[in-house]
C-alpha cells in the first residue's frame, strides 16, 4: 500500500487502512515517544493520541514529504508537548511540597549504585535521560533521531526542516553538551 492509498483509506475510515497504519508505524511511534519521554507507559498513552491525530488530520497531509516523516514530526511534537506539560506539573508539585513542608522540594540525588546491573542500568538511564532532556530542544530532537532512531542525516533534515549542515552542527553541539552534563554526575569524568 502506498502512502497515498493509505491516506485515502484513512480518509474513508477504512478498517484495513487503520490496521495497515498501525502495523507499519506503531513501533516507530511508540519507540520514538519512549526515547523522548523515557517512560514506556507515557509513550504508549501518547501513541494512542498520536494515531488519533493522524487519522484526524490525514486530510492535511501534503505529499511533499514521506508519510513516515510526517508521522515522525507529529510524534516529536506530541512528545515534546508532553514533556513540557510534565515539567510544569512537576514545578507545581514541587511548589506544593515547598508550601506544605517548608523544604526546598528538591529530590535527593541518587548516586549510581554498584549492587547489580539492572539498578546500574536504571541509574545510567536516569542520568542519560536527565542529560538529554536538559539539552536545547533542537539538539535533543537531532540527538534522539540520530542515536536512538538511527535515522540517516537526510531524514533528520526532513523531519526537522533544516539543512544538512544545521543538523550536523546540532548533533556536534548535542554531543559536547552531553559529555559536559554527564561529567557532573561521574567523578571520573571530571576534567583534571
Amino acid at each position: 500500500m502506498t502512502d497515498t492509498e493509505l491516506i485515502q483509506g484513512i480518509l474513508r475510515r477504512d478498517r484495513q487502512a487503520y490496521q495497515y497504519l498501525l502495523d507499519t508505524y506503531q513501533k516507530q511511534v511508540v519507540k520514538t515517544a519512549y526515547y523522548f519521554t523515557g517512560n514506556m507507559e507515557d509513550a504508549e498513552d501518547l501513541s494512542q493520541d498520536i494515531f488519533l491525530e493522524i487519522i484526524d488530520s490525514a486530510a492535511s497531509f501534503r505529499h511533499s514529504a514521506a508519510l513516515s516523516t510526517w508521522i515522525y514530526r507529529i510524534t516529536v511534537n506530541r512528545s515534546l508537548n508532553l514533556i513540557k506539560r510534565n515539567k510544569r506539573r512537576d514545578i507545581f508539585q514541587r511548589l506544593g511540597t515547598v508550601f506544605q513542608s517548608g523544604t526546598d522540594g528538591k529530590q535527593p540525588v541518587n548516586e549510581p549504585s554498584s549492587h547489580n546491573t539492572a539498578t546500574e542500568d536504571d541509574e545510567r538511564r536516569k542520568l542519560l535521560n536527565k542529560a538529554i532532556s536538559s539539552l536545547p530542544e533542537n539538539q535533543r530532537i537531532a540527538f534522539v533521531l540520530c542515536k536512538y532512531e538511527e535515522l540517516p542525516y537526510k531524514d533528520i533534515c526532513e523531519v526537522m526542516n533544516l539543512s544538512l549542515s544545521s543538523v550536523e552542527s546540532l548533533l556536534h553541539r548535542a554531543k559536547i553538551n552531553l559529555q559536559t552534563k554527564l561529567c557532573i554526575h561521574f567523578p571520573e569524568f571530571k576534567k583534571n
Partner: protein, 160 residues
C-alpha cells in the same frame, strides 16, 4: 616543517583529548592513527580508562533502549479507539467540517447562544412585567365593578 609540528601537536595524546572525544571513542569514529594512539593512552592511564568505560556503559543504555518492545496488545486498543473516533466523526457533523473552519463555527455558535440568551432574557423580563400590570388593572376593574354593583343594590333598596 610547520605541518609536521602541527600533526604532532594534533596527535599529542593526553587526558584532555580523551575527555573531548568520549563520543568519538565510544562510537569508534576516530581516524585510525588517533584511535591507536588513544587506545595506547587509555591502556596506560587509569583515570581515562575509567572515564571511557563509564561513558561506554552509558551509551550501551541507548543500545538496550533501542531493543525495548512496546506492549503487543497496544495495537488492539489503539485500533478500537481509532474506529470509535472514525464512527463518531461520521455521526458528528461538527467533526466532518474541515479543521480550519471548526474554531470559526464554534465562535459563531457561541455568539448565537449568547444572543439567544440575551434576547430570551429581555423577552422574559417583558413577559413577567405585563401580567403584573394587567393583573393590577384587572383587579382595579373588578373592584370598580363590585362597588358599582353594590351601589346599584343600595339604589334598588332605596326605591323599594
Amino acid at each position: 616543517m610547520h605541518s609536521l609540528s602541527r600533526i604532532q601537536k594534533e596527535l599529542n595524546m593526553d587526558c584532555t583529548f580523551i575527555n573531548n572525544n568520549l563520543f568519538a571513542l565510544a562510537e569508534d569514529h576516530l581516524p585510525a592513527t588517533e584511535r591507536a594512539l588513544a587506545k595506547e593512552h587509555i591502556a596506560g592511564c587509569a583515570t581515562c580508562s575509567a572515564r571511557v568505560s563509564s561513558f561506554s556503559a552509558i551509551m550501551e543504555v541507548i543500545e538496550k533502549d533501542r531493543k525495548t518492545e512496546p506492549n503487543p496488545f497496544l495495537s488492539t486498543r489503539i485500533l478500537q479507539k481509532m474506529e470509535s473516533q472514525g464512527a463518531a466523526a461520521n455521526y458528528n457533523i461538527f467533526l466532518r467540517i474541515p479543521r480550519v473552519l471548526q474554531p470559526a463555527l464554534a465562535a459563531v455558535l457561541i455568539l448565537l447562544a449568547v444572543l439567544t440568551g440575551f434576547f430570551a432574557g429581555k423577552q422574559g423580563k417583558q413577559l413577567s412585567q405585563v401580567p403584573a400590570y394587567e393583573r393590577t388593572l384587572n383587579e382595579m376593574k373588578a373592584q370598580m365593578f363590585i362597588s358599582e354593583l353594590n351601589d346599584e343594590d343600595k339604589t334598588v333598596e332605596l326605591y323599594k
